[in-house]
């Protein structure tokens, strides 16, 4: 039995041969992906020519020709533009404008010596948000309570003031990125739970609750956000008694949250629809109550499915915040556009630079949200991948 050793059977595997030349390496990748057919080759060459023509121009405009330092329009205007110092024909980004107005783009017209308050709120927000987003960090429950319950209250008193010796800062002075972030954070934090309740209500067998939820969702979702904001800012004051005014920012905040909730409800309802009936029946057969069934079995699965939809809604909301500029509130985009009217920075390149900056900031936040949602999706991926 032991002497079954045959000399022609190998004792160990042969080392793998390297692939034949021409199917690996950069050359092969280029050949298969860029130059596979004559048509591909032509398209590649055209695309490369376009890039070679366009990219240097963009880079030149954005960086090499750009004006980085300066105190007024003379740094960004050419000599033919009464009072400019750049040579004739010059064109480049005017980053000096962004630099000189950066604080305003972040805080709006918030009083300068009180700006430590929104800064502190920002630091607290990051300090609470980051550990919540990293799965390994413990005490998630406390962390969430601090972020979603304690922080809003603390922020309210810090930002509005009027207590503990803090000066009162009315919301008409708020602006910039601060307003964008507050609007979107509150919108998200309110719309998520409210959306879940509305979605559950819409599927409820109880006729009154169901009718209320359906009516709310359909009415709010059927009206453009711009109309909601406009009604809140223009019509509402006319119907109020003389002298009674509801704060503009609060009006926008409420309109915004309500609007986002209706959208969120429909996204979450999509997830609820996707849960097989067996899951409900399984929970029922274990004797779970409605809230146990919903909280432990249905929602965790439903929300996991609709993460892309939820993040999509969040990103949409984040960008919709710029609509508040039509009711005289200035979010990031609004305050940048408002600064275009300042004659001390009037030049042909100022508006373009401002808009590029605004686009970049919005992109950073939206891209961040999108990447984090993909991370969460991968982490929660428990065998539903198709």
């Amino acid at each position: 039995m032991a002497s079954t050793q045959s000399s022609y059977v190998r004792a160990q595997m042969i080392a793998a041969e390297p692939p034949p030349p021409g199917v690996t390496g950069a050359a092969h990748w280029l050949k298969t992906n860029l130059f596979a057919t004559p048509k591909d080759t032509i398209l590649t060459v055209i695309a490369l020519l376009l890039l070679a023509w366009y990219v240097p121009q963009v880079l030149n405009w954005l960086f090499f020709n750009a004006q980085w330092m300066g105190t007024d329009r003379s740094f960004c205007a050419t000599v033919v533009q009464s009072g400019g110092s750049q040579p004739e024909g010059w064109s480049g980004a005017c980053w000096a404008f962004i630099g000189s107005r950066f604080d305003q783009f972040i805080f709006g017209r918030y009083p300068i010596d009180e700006r430590w308050r929104p800064t502190l709120v920002g630091i607290l927000f990051v300090a609470l948000l980051v550990p919540l987003m990293i799965p390994k960090v413990p005490y998630k429950g406390w962390n969430a309570i601090l972020l979603f319950v304690v922080l809003p209250v603390v922020s309210f008193f810090l930002l509005v003031g009027g207590v503990f010796g803090l000066r009162h800062v009315e919301t008409s002075l708020w602006g910039g990125l601060m307003v964008t972030l507050i609007l979107s954070f509150v919108g998200m934090a309110v719309s998520f739970p409210l959306g879940i309740l509305l979605a559950l209500g819409r599927r409820s067998p109880m006729p009154v609750i169901k009718t209320l939820c359906v009516t709310f969702i359909e009415i709010v979702r059927g009206v453009p956000l711009i109309t909601v904001l406009f009604m809140a800012s223009v019509m509402l004051p006319l119907f109020m008694p003389q002298g009674v005014t509801v704060d503009r920012f609060l009006r926008a905040l409420i309109g915004f949250s309500i609007f986002a909730s209706a959208y969120m409800a429909e996204v979450i309802r999509g997830g609820l629809q996707a849960i097989p009936k067996g899951q409900y029946e399984g929970a029922d057969s274990l004797g779970f109550s409605y809230w146990q069934k919903t909280g432990l079995i249905v929602l965790p699965q439903a929300i996991k499915i609709v993460i892309p939809g939820i993040v999509n809604t969040f990103i949409g909301m984040f960008k919709d915040t710029s609509l508040v500029s039509i009711i005289g509130m200035f979010d990031l985009l609004g305050i940048i556009r408002q600064n275009f009217a300042d004659v001390s920075w009037a030049s042909p390149v100022t508006p373009l630079t401002g808009l590029i900056f605004a686009g970049f900031v919005f992109w950073i936040f939206c891209f961040g949200m999108s990447r984090y949602s993909m991370f969460v999706e991968r982490r929660l991926d428990t065998g539903h991948k198709r």
């Binding site: 604080d103 200035f330 556009r337 300042d342 100022t350």
Partner: protein, 341 residues
Amino acid sequence: MAKKIVTALLGAAVLGMGAQAAQADTLSDVKAKGFVQCGVNSSLAGFAAPDAQGNYAGFDVDYCKAIAAAIFGDATKVKYTPTTAKERFPALQSGEVDVLARNTTWTINRDTALGFNFRPVNYYDGQGFMVRKSLNVKSALELSGAAVCVQTGTTTELNLADYFKANNLQYNPVVFEKIEEVNAAYDAGRCDVYTTDQSGLYAIRLTLAAPDDHMVLPEIISKEPLAPAVRQGDDKWFDIVSWVHYALINAEEFGVTQANVEEMKSSPNPDIKRFLGAEADSTIGADLGLDNNWAVNVIKAVGNYGEVFDRNIGAGSPLKIERGLNALWSKGGIQYAPPIR
């Protein structure tokens, strides 16, 4: 017919609001709350725009400061409500703002149906045209067949249509929603003519690639008297807002400036002494419900009309708008103020 009824109803509603507001005594309210709530443009070069510190500055903003200085002797006791073109009237009707200093044209409709009061015109504006010098056009009447860049949703668009129709000229409107788009289109040569209020044309010229290649044509095709507005029915408040403007004009006439206002109190000219409240048993302030040195406070805060004009939109600013119609009546303009005595 239905439209008429709706208009009538809306008018009635607005009038109702006006009547409701009329009972209020704005001056007492303002004194009680300690500041003037002033409606300004959310951003208009030279008239109201944020400066480097984020504070509002501009021609209209100086009127807000002047009113606050007249009442409180302190130009900082004013809060601004930035308003868009659509929001401004409801904001004033509902009492959200006490006065609207927002480059608003005084028209019969706004004065009557909307329930506002206008009196002193603080800036005489009018719609004009800007063209490239290379077109060799000397008058707007030569613009037949031109492509005209215009911002949509403004009275500008309507005035333009009226003017070309009245003069039997053809034109192609090139219409945009946002002012930056109009600027970019004109600068890129997509249209031959840019039309908006003349004060705006000067601001826009600054942002063109080669401002010296462009010229503003002499024709003014519309009257745009810009005036601060208040709610109808509160004459005392209306008087204060009006006389603040008249004080600025009178100060320029008398040569009283921000720098010399204290010395001028002891001027030998009785008119100036009276104006500055330095005359014995003067009641020029008390009659308005203000201090006798209210005019002094106004001039200390913002200077006279000429100084306000120069600093924000005139020779002392990048806009360099000519005084034109806004020069004093004694210097070829039509800015005229009743005497203060």
